[in-house]
């Protein structure tokens, strides 16, 4: 059986900025592929290629064994790849349920009389959010009035609801408190156990390690380490991320700062 997603030596430039160079990884059904790395390492760039927002300049991108080039996020969605972006891709002034269904609205009627199925929309959104443990009293309220964690959950619930095969999450835990981050990670594990392939982007090895099956560490657009869970420990992963010697230098610096 071929992998849900496979990238092979993929690269991307923004003008003369090399954002990504020769990166390879796979995403299998029922597994979580974690992408780690510092700010500007190219994590968002990688998943934007997978999500159809950007196109790769080199290398190969395969979905279920077929080489593809996604022209738009719509193409990715049609292949069953759903994404929760770092900036969440919600429209703050629109209501929760309208955001939930944006781009995939349920309708009734035909031809010129086709209209939104508002009741189904509201009920489905409410239920999908309740499944994530978010009990919104009013799905008509603008998304802009929700807290950061709630907004994250709306975006995740939407992706889980529409993402048939692959769920991509760009730093879903970055803005969250400990409890809400735990909640989000639990849903990542749930999605994995339901047979979805998950791509989890994060800064935090402590978030990645418990749920991850495979780890890809990026640094300045290049692959620093790619490992199966059995081949790497949390300590090793943490050290890789900070870049060994650099971490020691940082510890040294921090000691100097804290001792007046």
């Amino acid at each position: 059986m071929s992998a849900l997603i496979e990238v092979d030596g993929i690269g991307k430039n923004y003008g003369n900025v090399v954002a990504l160079h020769d990166v390879s990884t796979v995403v299998n059904a029922g597994e979580v592929t974690c992408v780690l790395g510092d700010n500007g390492a190219g994590k968002s760039t990688l998943i934007k290629i997978l999500a159809g927002v950007h196109q790769h300049d080199s290398g190969r991108f395969l979905v279920e064994g077929e080489e593809v080039r996604l022209g738009s996020p719509r193409d990715a969605l049609d292949l069953g790849i759903a994404t929760v972006y770092q900036d969440l891709a919600v429209v703050p002034l629109m209501s929760v349920w309208r955001n939930f269904f944006l781009g995939s609205e349920p309708t009734v009627g035909f031809g010129p009389f086709q209209r939104l199925d508002r009741r189904t929309g509201r009920e489905t959104a409410r239920k999908a959010l309740a499944d994530l443990g978010i009990d919104l009293r009013d799905v008509e309220q603008p998304v802009g009035t929700l807290s950061g964690g709630e907004r994250q959950c709306v975006a995740i619930a939407r992706a889980v609801h529409f993402g048939a095969k692959v769920l991509i999450l760009d730093e879903p835990t970055a803005a969250l408190g400990v409890k809400q981050a735990g909640l989000v990670l639990r849903h990542v594990a749930q999605a994995r156990d339901r047979g979805l392939g998950v791509v989890l982007i994060t800064h935090n090895p402590h978030h990645a390690y418990p749920v991850g099956s495979r780890f890809l560490v990026l640094k300045r657009g290049a692959s620093l380490r790619s490992a199966e869970k059995k081949d790497i420990t949390l300590e090793e992963l943490t050290r890789q991320m900070a870049g060994g010697a650099e971490l020691e230098a940082l510890e040294h610096e921090l000691r100097e700062v804290s001792s007046p």
């Binding site: 996020p73 002034l93 781009g103 919104l136 309220q141 009035t145």
Partner: protein, 342 residues
């Protein structure tokens, strides 16, 4: 699993305070109505009502279309002059070329849709502000209106629609009157109300309406979840142009004459009516019914001041105050809805 409950309760209250965008305009319209009913005797007579509804109607058609476009995050400064361009195209084709009025109207509609599509296409392709792009179209159309009219007729107007083929039937559709009691009301009022109702339905009940709010509220987010942002915006520009055609057709068939310099300056009235009706200048929020009510306020005040025998200078003062009030109210709504909470 219930860690969020207290916050949800708070948010529910906040959201309940955010009322519909047209509420402010509705209150304003009531106030203006009551005020002029008291100060001007003729205001509440059947003839008076017919007059201010007529004044509101063509403005209202445009305000509704411009509101849709503004909700979609764009402006169209060529909308005012478009009402003259389409009337001129129809008149020249019917009077000078000798086409049947219906055919002339059809070709004029094609012209309008073409200009609308061009506006939209340039805006989505270049990413330039529509303010600048449509300012260019505005100037270009203004020049074309004068230049071509002068070339064809050696004057700056086209007249003589009354003697053209199909004038009777087209006039019936676009420029007839209907009786309520013994007072004639313009058919444009029906077009206005019908168009506003249709636009309101499209906006809140259809996919396209949902996409309109989304492309105006956050175009990158809309694109990321699969909304065809470019198509939506281009269609909105085309809708505005088509509304310009409707108003141009109503005008040319009613007055049978069109001046080549007509329509200039109206574009700001459309935007003002839409803003009074609750549209945000930044897009993503507003209402079609609100824009129709904004136009009604406009018409009532403009004619009310005439009925009250005041100098029409006061209208501008009134307009300025209405606009400022509306912008302040709208801004409060937006800040409530957009406030980033953690």
């Amino acid at each position: 699993m219930t860690t969020l409950d207290e916050r949800v309760a708070q948010n529910g209250l906040v959201s309940r305070l955010i009322v519909r965008p047209e509420i402010g305009a509705l209150i304003g319209a009531l106030a203006v109505f009551v005020f002029f009913s008291i100060v001007a005797d003729k205001f509440l007579t059947a003839a008076g009502v017919a007059t201010w509804l007529d004044d509101s109607a063509t403005l209202g058609i445009m305000a509704v279309a411009v509101a849709l476009l503004m909700i979609g995050g764009e402006f169209d400064l060529s909308a005012g002059v478009m009402t003259a361009s389409t009337a001129l195209v129809t008149a020249i084709l019917a009077v000078e070329v000798g086409l049947n009025v219906w055919l002339a109207l059809l070709l004029s509609l094609v012209f309008a849709l073409g200009v609308g599509a061009l506006n939209g296409w340039i805006v989505v392709r270049t990413g330039l502000p529509s303010f600048i792009v449509t300012l260019g179209t505005f100037l270009a159309l203004q020049g074309l209106n004068l230049g071509i009219t002068r070339l064809v007729t050696n004057s700056v107007q086209v007249s003589g629609m009354r003697s053209t083929d199909g004038y009777e039937s087209a006039g019936f559709v676009f420029a007839s009157t209907f009786q309520v009691g013994d007072t004639p009301f313009q058919i444009s009022i029906v077009w206005w109300l019908g168009f506003a109702a249709l636009a309101a339905w499209v906006l809140v009940r259809t996919k396209f309406g949902n996409w309109t709010f989304a492309v105006g509220g956050s175009a990158p987010s809309a694109r990321a979840v699969g909304v065809p942002v470019r198509r939506t915006k281009i269609l909105l520009f085309m809708t505005t142009a088509a509304a310009g055609w409707l108003v141009g057709s109503i005008n040319i068939l009613r007055f049978t004459t069109v001046q080549a310099n007509q329509g200039i300056g109206l574009e700001f009235q459309f935007i003002i009516a839409a803003v009074i009706g609750g549209c945000l200048l930044t897009g993503g929020f507003g209402s079609a019914i609100g824009a129709a009510i904004g136009a009604l306020i406009f018409g009532m005040a403009r004619q009310g001041i005439v009925f009250a025998n005041w100098n029409s200078d006061w209208f501008m003062l009134f307009l300025g105050i209405m606009l400022l009030g509306a912008v302040l109210v709208n801004n409060t709504f937006r800040r409530r809805a957009e406030r980033v909470r953690r």
